[in-house]
Symmetry: C2
DNA sequence: TGAACATATGAACAATTACTCATATGAAAA
DNA sequence: TTTTCATATGAGTAATTGTTCATATGTTCA
C-alpha cells in the first residue's frame, strides 16, 4: 500500500490521494457560497408557502398576506428576499403589485425536495 | 365583474376567488415545514461543501475536516445535521466513520440549484 | 486493562434572521 | 393638491444557528 493510499486515518488522519482529487473537483468558493445562499431562501416555511401559493396563481401582496394569515409587512419583506434570489417577479398594476414565479427552476427544486422527503 | 372576482385589491384587499383555489391546493402545514427544514440543511456553505466533497469520494470525518480546512468538531456537528436529514450515511470501519451521500436526490437538488444560478 | 486515536456531543458565544411596529414611497381617485 | 389605498423599508427584538472548546464515547492495539 502506497504512502498516499492509506485506508485508515494515519499521518494526521489524511487519505492524501483522495483529498487531492476532491479538492481539484470542488467548484469555486463563490459558487458554493451562492448555492448555499439560494437554498437558504428556500429554507424558510413562510417563503416556501409563498412559492406554493404562487404555483397556483399570480397574486398581489395583500392577497398573499390574507392567504397565509400574515401581516403585509412580513410578506413584503419575504417577497423582497425571493425577488433578490430571482425566484419571483413583481409586476405593478395600479396600486397593486402582482407577484409570480420567475421560472420553472423553482418548481423543479421544490419537487426534488418533496421527492426526497416522501420516501 | 362579479363581487368575488375583483381585479384590484378592494374589500380589505382580497381576490376571494383566487384565494379559495389557492388555499385548497396548499399541502399540509407539516409538509411545508419539512420542506423548509430540508432546504435549510442545504442552506449553509459548509454543508454544501461537505456534500460536494462526498460527490467525489466517500471520506472519513478527519479527511473532511482536512479537505475543508475546518475542525473535526465543526465537521462532526454538520454531519449530524446532514445525517438527520438523510442526505448522508455513516459507515463505521474500525476507528473511522466513512460518510457518503445517501441517495441521488442530493445531486439532483444541488444540480437544479446550480442551474438556477447560472443564467 | 490502559493508552492512543477517531468521532460525537453539550455548553457558550457570536452572528444571522424573521417578525413587529412605525413610517416612507407610489399610484389612483376625490 | 389632498386623501386614500397598496406596497416597501428601516430599526428593534426574540429566536435560531454555526463554530469553538472541553469532554465523552467508541474502537484498536500494546
Amino acid at each position: 500500500m502506497a504512502m498516499n493510499d492509506v485506508e485508515i486515518c494515519e499521518d494526521k488522519c489524511i487519505h492524501a490521494d483522495r483529498l487531492e482529487k476532491v479538492r481539484a473537483g470542488l467548484p469555486d468558493e463563490d459558487e458554493l457560497y451562492d448555492l448555499a445562499e439560494l437554498f437558504k431562501v428556500f429554507g424558510d416555511s413562510t417563503r416556501i408557502r409563498i412559492l406554493y401559493v404562487l404555483f397556483q396563481s399570480e397574486l398581489c401582496v395583500c392577497d398573499l398576506a390574507e392567504a397565509l394569515q400574515m401581516t403585509q409587512s412580513a410578506i413584503s419583506h419575504q417577497l423582497k428576499i425571493l425577488k433578490q434570489a430571482k425566484l419571483v417577479t413583481g409586476r405593478r398594476e395600479g396600486k397593486s403589485v402582482f407577484y409570480a414565479l420567475a421560472d420553472d427552476h423553482v418548481r423543479s427544486i421544490i419537487d426534488q425536495g418533496r421527492e426526497h422527503i416522501e420516501e
